[in-house]
């Protein structure tokens, strides 16, 4: 009887361990990644790890041997030695030699990581609270990449999907076998752009530009996250890189550019209040609800309420101004470059007509488009 119980427990544990080993959920180590750099980083990691294991075996081995043999209960008598210059020198010099041996390959890898010359494609990455903006320099293409996990999953009202919190509405699409240079900066606080499979983690710092680079060897989708605490939704700004062949990349690029032009054209047509409200709600949830909350009530002391607020209920010009240009010295960002004219018009309309703010007036995309044009010119002067 006892035997069967033990047998059951042992086989149960074995099964648990086995299934643990095969499922990704018990992942215990760094990824070797998909670039040459990431694989040399992985090798460095494993080398230093095994060095530590070897030292641990020796040191803890001696320690536990002493604990076992030199205990009073076994009648051990304390010896009286308490100094020996030779051993002190030995256990100072040996670690130094090990460290030098480790420093050589580490330096080589680091030097390589800093060599951002001769890039074939430049992508500027800008951190925003709490999303990433990608600018394909010289390609006339830029877009924002937002978390696409539905809020219901986060609040446990819906089942979580495979890529929970690691999925975005627009991937950063990159070609393989191409030296891509990333130029990192930030619009507000410090963020850090990290994709483990590329072994790239670099801080995005407001007012400064950092550089990093990668040559991706294999097509695929590689996920990462913001690594530097950047405020409330720091845990909700993932990075998704989609590496495709060079040809596919060119096709994608052409299509994305065409879509962007179509969107600009849409601002010129007339929009009904209902259409604007419908799109406005989507934009609001994506861009505004993180701070002002889905019900528009905000967080007292941190993020003001929009419901019944003097701005959302007051002069429309002032409302448009704060959404387009932000409010300096606060967390309110300038959305003029983040959203299209249509999206801006829709979200302002939504804010003025939702949660009982029933003004009944619509802000037209064309009106916003006109506001965007001249001042972009001013900014360039």
């Amino acid at each position: 009887m006892g035997r069967t119980i033990i047998k059951t427990i042992v086989s149960g544990l074995a099964l648990a361990l086995y299934s643990g080993a095969v499922s990704a959920e018990w992942e215990v180590n760094l990824t070797p990644g998909v670039t040459d750099i990431s694989s040399s980083v992985f090798d460095l990691h494993m080398t230093i790890f095994w060095i530590c294991v070897a030292i641990a075996l020796v040191v803890f081995g001696v320690m536990f041997w002493s604990i076992f043999h030199h205990r009073k209960s076994r009648g051990a008598q304390a010896h009286h030695f308490h100094e020996n210059t030779l051993v002190e020198v030995i256990w100072t010099v040996i670690p130094i030699l090990i460290l030098v041996a480790m420093a050589v390959p580490a330096t080589a890898t680091l030097v390589e990581m800093y060599d951002t010359d001769e890039a074939e494609l430049d992508v500027q990455i800008t951190g925003y609270q709490w999303k990433w903006r990608y600018d394909y320099l010289d390609q006339d293409l830029n877009f924002f990449s937002n978390l696409s996990t539905p809020r219901e999953q986060i609040s446990n009202e819906a089942d979580k999907q495979e890529h929970y919190l690691l999925e975005v509405d627009r991937h950063l699409v990159l070609p393989v076998d191409t030296k891509i240079r990333f130029l990192l900066t930030s619009n507000d606080v410090i963020h850090s752009w990290w994709v483990p499979a590329l072994a790239v983690k670099k801080d995005a710092i407001p007012g400064f530009i950092n550089e990093a680079w990668a040559v991706i060897n294999e097509p695929g989708i590689y996920r990462g996250q913001c690594a530097e605490l950047c405020g409330k939704d720091h845990g909700f700004m993932p990075v998704v890189v989609e590496a495709v062949s060079k040809d596919e990349f060119q096709q994608w690029l052409a299509q994305a550019q065409a879509e962007k032009q179509a969107e600009a054209a849409a601002a010129e047509r007339t929009w009904t209040l209902d259409e604007l409200m419908q799109q406005g709600e989507q934009v609001y949830v994506r861009a505004c609800a993180a701070c002002h909350l889905p019900n528009g009530e905000g967080v007292p002391g941190a993020f003001p309420a929009l419901k019944g607020s003097p701005i959302a209920m007051g002069d429309v010009a002032a409302h448009i101004d704060i959404v387009l240009n932000g409010k300096s010295g606060t967390a309110m960002q300038a959305f003029r470059d983040q959203l299209s004219a249509t999206e801006l018009a829709a979200v302002i309309t939504y804010e003025r007509n939702a949660w009982g703010n029933s003004l009944g007036e619509a802000v037209s995309p064309a009106q916003i488009a006109r506001l965007l044009e001249p001042s972009t010119g001013e900014a360039e002067q």
Binding site: Y164, P196, Q225
Partner: protein
Amino acid sequence: MSTLDTTLEQDTHAHHGPAKGLGRWLFTTNHKDIGSMYLWFSLLMFFIGGCMALMIRAELFQPGLQLVEPGFFNQMTTMHGLIMVFGAVMPAFVGLANWMVPMMIGAPDMALPRMNNWSFWILPFAFAMLISTLFMDGGAPNFGWTFYAPLSTTYAPPSVTYFIFAIHMMGISSIMGAINIIATILNLRAPGMTMMKLPLFCWTWLITAFLLIAVMPVLAGVVTMMLMDIHFGTSFFDAGGGGDPVLFQHVFWFFGHPEVYIMILPAFGIISQIIPTFARKRLFGYASMVYATASIAILSFLVWAHHMFTVGIPLAGELFFMFATMLIAVPTGVKVFNWVATMFRGSMTFETPMLFALAFVVLFTIGGFSGLMLAIAPVDFQYHDTYFVVAHFHYVLVPGAVFSIMAGAYYWLPKWTGHMLDERMGKLHFWLSFIGVNITFFPMHFIGLAGMPRRIPDYALQFADFNMVATVGAFIFGLSQLVFLWNVIACVRGGRKAEARAWEGAEGLEWEVPSPAPYHTFSEPPKLPESLR
């Protein structure tokens, strides 16, 4: 010996014993009273900070947001860090120094007793102010205990000003405590106690005190710059006005890295007192221990940017800080080797203080290994700001600094209270803590390597299992600290009578006075015992 006994006789019958009532604690200049207050205060902060840690772990038990909002989660991580660093670990070490340094060097009290009173009494006010920010509009500081600008300036909640003032007060308290310890150790040693006969706990604290004086003003400087940026229109950390957010990190970590050693050097001292006692053998390599401590202290000023490998410092800087950081492994290794050599061919017993000391040596060393891994800059790009870092610094701070404080408390409790600890309860506390701490922090290495960033309230599904394990461990560890509280209270209230030399192998002046130590000790300079001559 006989002269010593007569002095003690006079002391016990001396005219000034402790005053009565609350006034005793408010106005005391007695190093033992002040030491006790520091220790009780730090225990209280340990429990408050611990509750915050449990709140963090409870939220992270499962993916999804269950208990707290992300904004409040950030307040918890920030306050947990600040309270544990400035409220629990540092005051505990100052408390131990207050109690033990005068008794170890044969001094009647600290050199500057009134300042001693003041440096303690600042702390309750500083922390009351810091904790009160939780109830303010916009909430408590939510930018991490490292409070990087501009998240802590332009984007900070209004309570940041109270936080800055609280940090200033803590800094003043620490500096005064440090001055006092230096003045005491340099001036009040018993005749014949040369520097190279100083107990190692005093040596490590002396060096720590110099570190404190060097870097606490830097912390004061950086929070003042924040204050100026927030309220007086300067732009130290704002590129828009010609400043640089990275400047903040340089100044902060110039304080912050020595601060790390401020929290571990006194621990080295405690462990170096305890291991020889229970191995019944003199500490191996006393002189090299002193030199190693001093080298670690000096190197601590040259490695700050290893916290900032990803901010984009130039290659030359990156290499310099990588090499300097790796170098710290050498003196730290020397210390570990010396402890092991002290045990080697000793005659060991394993009372509670020794168990904590041994766990310290093993688990601190594991924290040291991950530290060495983090020093390798190209690999640090993968480790930086992940749970691997969280695992690393919790290994050196919890089974490192905190275990050393508990080891010290168990070691000296007989001297403070006159009662021996109930060993069974002590061992229960040890094993629960040891198991709990490893279940909590070891899996964090794995989730960090697998890619989980730190300071996030919710996480992707592949991190779920280890997070659950860590949370279970955290509750085991947290709840088992109630056993510690029980043990301390039980020891104060009663127990087997402790002898002057409470532990068989204990050496040093503090074991020459009766247990409990009389209110005033060493009114006359003592003669050094045989072992110190």
